[in-house]
């Protein structure tokens, strides 16, 4: 994750727009093709909102063969939380779109992410800050 793939206080109308905006950052970074963004949206439509893996947090992703060029992540915090339809963990305030090339190379990144997610102090700081640098520092700390 870099400065270029983080956007804070983003306005979105619904979950699909949130995924598309997060996915767009990955397209701009040349990490994925546009069809990957469509695949992330399709995954929620087909499999349900299971990508909302923790309270207030969604991790859209799709399979590598749907146009992933390199491993990458993007992060959005939303100005107003949106519902994904997950009764346990809605509404969603933080969206991290994941592009993985296989099932293992991103495992370290996921480990860091899992640690970050279980740190409620850091998560609330990420949700409230308006400084991209601060988010990066929290992730890397």
């Amino acid at each position: 994750m870099t400065k270029a793939t983080i956007r804070l206080n983003v306005k979105v109308k619904n979950w699909e727009e949130a995924i598309r905006k997060g996915g767009e950052l990955l397209v701009q970074e040349d990490a994925v093709e546009q069809c990957y963004v469509d695949a992330m949206v399709r995954a929620v439509k087909e499999l349900g909102p299971y990508i909302v893996i923790a309270p207030g947090f969604a991790m859209p992703h799709a399979k590598a063969e749907n146009g992933v060029k390199q491993i990458a992540m993007s992060l959005l915090t939303l100005e107003s939380p949106v519902k994904f339809g997950n009764p346990d963990n809605d509404p969603v305030k933080v969206v991290i779109c994941l592009a993985a090339v296989d099932h293992t190379t991103h495992i370290e990144a996921m480990r860091e992410l899992a640690l970050l997610l279980s740190d409620s102090d850091k998560m609330s700081q990420i949700q409230s800050t308006r400084q991209v640098e601060e988010v990066l520092a929290l992730i890397q700390a």
């Binding site: 995954a43 299971y50 992410l113 279980s118």
Partner: protein, 92 residues
Amino acid sequence: MNIVTVCGMGMGSSLVLKMNIDDILKRKGIKADVEACDLGSLVGKVADIVVTTYELKLQVEDKGYNVVYVRSVIDKKALEELILDAVGKLKK
């Protein structure tokens, strides 16, 4: 003991679940192989316990596995209780 964690793609929540379960079992000194997989690859896997989220209950419950469902993949405390309970039942 074989534990399989499942999610839609086999690389998001199932991977986080696998890492958290690995940590829990290591801390408790319990030996197990924990593997993350996607829904499509689950059928045919040998698993003493399958772990997934409630969101995927419909897709998993009719496959004949001993399934543990979680609400949040990062709630380690709840996960630990569920896993240790399931492991304990296996040993009986």
